[in-house]
Assembly symmetry: D2
């Protein structure tokens, strides 16, 4: 059973019909993301970080089957007795499973069977909601929280799907496009004015509240809300752009150990990094592999697909530093960014977008959407954090070491999935997500 800590009471308890509507919308979004894929695209795992889309489709379904149907639907028959072994991600509480590294070795079950699995579970979920709703009773808070967790979980996998699909397609020298390039095409490389230099926005130090406090949903890792002290600091009003980052590259940033953390420098040498992931140079010009195939570099767009090591080295070179997650959250409370202003998954842009040239230099832009912003904060439990009992206690808590917090969501995040208190986390070497840089000092 889930503690209230993990799933605080939702603001307005939804009606069952609303729940059903939301469920179908979220589930449709997942299927919609996979629609441009061929069956062949849905089974490969080029690196361990990337899971096959077929696996995402099934795993998110298994989540509803395991945490909702098994516990709330009397006499529920699982779709297939082996699917728990195949599609459990990392829950030791729920038994043995396919090793993460082996997800790409499995051609079966085929994609069609996975879609049948989705349909089977969807039908039973809808039936369950309808049955519960028919009694006229309110949605119980515990059920509502658990159900919302399933939806948020699926949204997390939508974001992973967007990043994984990009990586999968990028391995081919054919540089296939997931979707046709949008019109009008981005400006040619080097052409057009890059953005003017960023401005610094000062924020006064003092004691602040951090963490999620509202009603509504949050993950357990945003809890408990607590007080922190921070000193005066400044944030840049916009993200670091490709033009900015090119300057770092051209100044020899990838060849000078002085900017780098020790482990980052070793990795960069060994992996022969000379640019962000997906960049390639052709006839003197830089291109990037995108969901729309190979595209010229847009200088004004935020740089993305950089590791923490690169973000930190860039900041050193620029005479600045990365913010802490507390600083970022304080700034977000101060500047109250509108979700509508950011680029999210629903845009199907799949790429962070340049700031409008005339943007107000006194505002802090691009806080939500576009790219996840690396912070120099370890992903550790907040004071008072408690792991839930049971399998869901493994959802977040056991990962709270050796990873960094990222904030703000990206162009691959569903718009309804982001909050200023949201804590994403990756190891410092990861580059396949839409990660980017905002400077502090």
């Amino acid at each position: 059973m889930l503690t209230s800590q993990l799933l605080p009471p939702l603001e307005a308890i939804p009606k069952f019909t609303a729940l059903r509507q939301r469920y179908q919308a979220v589930r449709d979004q997942t299927a919609d993301l996979c629609r441009p894929l061929l069956p062949e695209d849905t089974v490969v795992q080029p690196i361990i970080d990337v899971s096959p889309p077929k696996w995402h489709l099934a795993h998110t379904t298994w989540f509803f089957e395991t945490f909702i149907l098994k516990d709330h639907q009397a006499d529920y028959q699982v779709f297939h007795p082996d699917y728990a072994f195949l599609f459990n991600s990392y829950y030791n509480s729920l038994g043995s499973r396919v090793n993460r590294a082996d997800r790409g070795t499995l051609s079966r079950p085929p994609l069609n069977d996975v879609y049948a699995y989705r349909a089977y579970v969807d039908e039973r979920i809808v039936h369950l909601l309808d049955t519960l709703g028919a009694t006229g009773s309110e949605v119980p808070a515990a059920f509502a929280g658990l159900f919302e967790l399933g939806l948020q979980h699926e949204q997390q996998h939508q974001e992973l799907l967007a990043a994984d699909i990009k990586y999968i397609l990028s391995t081919s020298p054919l540089a296939p496009a997931y979707l046709p390039a949008p019109a009008p095409a981005p400006a040619p490389a080097g052409s057009g004015p890059a953005l003017p230099p960023a401005t610094w926005l000062p924020i006064a130090g003092g004691n602040y509240r951090i963490g999620y406090e509202g009603p509504g949903f949050c993950f357990d890792n945003e809890q408990a809300p607590h007080e922190v002290y921070v000193a005066d600091f400044s944030l840049q009003n916009r993200l670091v752009t490709n033009a900015d980052y090119l300057q770092f590259m051209e100044a020899g940033g990838y060849r000078d150990f002085r900017y780098w953390l020790g482990e980052g420098w070793e990795l960069a040498q060994q992996a022969q990094w000379i640019a962000p992931l997906y960049w390639m140079q052709h006839a003197g010009a830089w291109y990037r592999f995108t969901h729309h195939g190979l595209q010229p570099l847009n200088l004004a767009a935020p740089v993305t697909h950089v590791s923490f090591y690169e973000a930190d080295a860039y900041a050193h070179w620029a005479g600045a530093r990365l913010p802490t997650e507390q600083e970022w959250e304080i700034a977000a409370r101060r500047f109250r960014p509108a979700v509508a202003a950011g680029t999210f998954l629903e845009s199907r842009a799949f790429d962070p977008q340049p700031l409008a040239p005339g943007a107000d230099p006194a505002q802090c832009h691009q806080l939500l959407g576009d790219v996840w912003e690396w912070t120099y904060s370890a992903y550790h439990p907040y004071p008072g954090y408690q792991r839930a009992a049971g399998a869901l206690g493994e959802y977040n808590g056991k990962f709270m070491l050796n990873q960094l917090v990222l904030r703000g969501g990206s162009c691959a995040t569903p718009a309804s999935h982001i909050r200023p208190t949201y804590r994403n986390f990756f190891h410092a070497d990861k580059r396949w997500q839409f990660t980017g840089i905002r400077l502090a000092r």
Copy 2:
């Protein structure tokens, strides 16, 4: 250009129409093998030894494009400029290529594009043969030899396809069947009489000729024919069966280092081998994963999917040894096995078959087909062996170290692809091919 050493003159120079007929038959067989597969099955590479079926389909096509069309068809336009990078297997002469270990990371080009590639090349090959045949001229020997090499090459990949498909499907706990099980089903495990003990067939020592001498096609590694001396020896009249091998297992064969070569013992411990590949025990009975799904062990059938290490350990335990390739070939010349008596790819049995209970104990059975027989002979060049010049010099010669020779073909070998002089070769640890054991002393 190919030396005559690599491709000796064919017995009867075929007419172009016959060439065309044979080409289409071979190419159809490849496509037929892949027909039961789903697109998902054709892209995964669960271990480095196993190539995705899509890759086999394309690589064999690339072979004809590269070695026939590019050199013999004026103004030939390749189907796609990137395919040489994607589908070259190991020819350094032909430039850089996808690493062998990365073949399973590529979802693109999709299977349909690969079929289109096959159709494109097939059409142009047929056109070329028709054009050449239209002049009424005979097929030039060099062209015939090269063309035959393309066909034999494709047949080798048919055998690999059969083994790779089995491995790919075996990785799933669903134990999917490639084809429905044949009727009547094999006898239940443990039931029915196993074969009576094998008999020993003595062969007198002396000087013998070894290697291919006829007209017709052979690979360069079967050349040059040469003389050897062997001492008196005996071969068993049949293959080692599952019943025989079970005795070894039950006698602790996998737990007693004394039977094993040092490197084999270390590997067996580290990989925790306790039975041949694909065996699994359930409720006290042994089953095997086959092309027809999980099947009870047929005690009378030849054991297969054993490494050289296991074959050698079995022989030690049995107080015997493995034959040399020379002994095997001498026996094959002496007993003149009929291809018709063996189980080959065309049977679609995909499993070695038991010897008929009343088989003549004075005959040497199962020499051709059913399983490749491990010999205790290193795959080294024969005296007088010469690598061909150019890319085809890389076909066989560069692999002549650290591998063992296997003889006789298997149930996955096309029947027209085997000869008593045929030298197959694998590293001692490989188990995914249809490999088996015949004892000598």
Copy 3:
């Protein structure tokens, strides 16, 4: 050149004669630690974390040669032109060097040459100090700071030496003693009363100052002093003992994933951890390898040689948590532990000692010395931290990721080397240092 940030002005500028005295005392301590070793003991590197004692002897000497003599002694001739390559640890600024993993492959230079190197540098350092002192001038602050860094650096290596020597001797089944066991021997395993349960000491939350603020020496990572807010918390009044830890073990702590962080659980399974490093069970009783050979477990002594993962799992099992480094420092300021009360290197006990049975339960004991206490704080830069320019900028700053802070010093720390603000740091999996556990909640 060193910034003042890295090396703040020392409290009382020492006279040159005092500097000389301190230099000789520190250098003698290093040699004294190596005296019981055989030449054979000084060259091996059983794991990458452990450096050969010969290397420590030379590297600390190279530090003085490089940072003092080369810059301050006119016409200084290095002892040997290859020693910089051999004995530079990790300073990219100072050129290429032997890989860390290869330190144990080098038998040459022999130990005697390294002692000659020490004598050569010692003589020149003393000469330099005497020459500078002869002018009657005061020791310039920058020189004093740099010189003190050399001494503190050597003390850090004394601690590493103590831990590395233990590991080196432990690899032998002969279980050799570095020093004879002290008399009286520790109480036999299981005998004698273990300590009574620890008490909880509450500390009020609020804003506190953190970081080094005095005159005198500190490392750059203790800078800059800054304000933090912490909530109310409690610390245990003593360290977790072997008796405490045995309860965790006997309750199945190493077999229950629920207590563990994900990466820790995987490591513990793969490495087959079932107890702290150096523990072994014999005839039902637990023993520990120590500097005095194999010794029965003293139940009342603090547990040591545990990884962060084990410390954290223990805390979970005990219904508590590890403190943050801020909490630890606040407690240390509050309870003002006396260095004299702790067990340090000078005791030559090389093992944490039990708390006296009648110790005041209202005091916080064992804060300094005995074992380094894991905190759940990432080793990140403090606000306002600046890397020094030049090679010394590599001393600490580049390691500030993926490690945890440990506080308080251990039985292997020189007593003059510890401060309440001292930040030690190791990766979460390390166990060969004298690391231990204090609980918070």
Copy 4:
């Protein structure tokens, strides 16, 4: 018990006094080889192939303790109960042991203890021989064979010692000399006439006897003697020289895959081989690390420290091939090389020597001593080979796969340890032994 197959009756059964004399001479030679070493040199293991000299000293002693004293000396007390665990090399029959890869992690027992172990065993062996000799009885054949095996075993380790010491000292940038360079020093690089081109010596094909047939000692792998057929072939009358090999290097031999076996080419690329082991280029001239430190390349000397892959690539480039072991042995019987003409361990040259300029071109030179000659023959059992029962059955038989036979002994082989039938064996990638090249065609 040892079968007669493994240890055939010795020609003249030696008297016990002669046995004692020979024992002392062999044992002294081992100690003499280690005399120039420092204790530090005797414990390191820079690569897995290289064992610490201390280990060789102890392991050879353990061999006599285990196979002679334990079985033939009543009430024998082992020197130390842990030494069997520490110094057993690879005999599964004799229980668990230190992993081969971990021999360099053990500083204890110290070198002096190992010398005490040698003295202890020597005294008891001498006592045993004296006691047995005092009865006036002849040495029983089985005992004589077993004792001789102990001596030959120790001689094998003398050769390994010579190669391992070289490797150990080579890892230091100090390039220490094991012994002072002999006078006169070798001719400077490039100076002096290299040898004239080798001549080809034809040998008629036919049936020949192979394997050891005399009385006296041989290893079991030289048994049983048997008949082979070989075709006409030619051998070169001398070894390939450094001058010859330089031509290959300068012709781009390390950059052209066409000369190489596939696995060799991959290894050479990955390991970045550009010359034999121990070669280094300085100011345009080539030098070699030797037992006498860094020395200019002597063009006339035989090339050494090449892998099989390099030897085979060289042969391809030169339009020739490597001999088989049968060809080599037939040539050796034909040309009856004198041991006295070769360079062996007793010379303390530790380097193959140039052929005298006026050497007879019709003779086959340098067959014995100087360098082990790679053959293109797999190290497989001879027909009729039988592993001995018991632990000694593990001496040779279990290694008979994936290695190549080398013939003729080297400058590190004791002169009394070589025979024309002697089969040495290494994996194809090994370079740290004194391996070289003779061409055949």
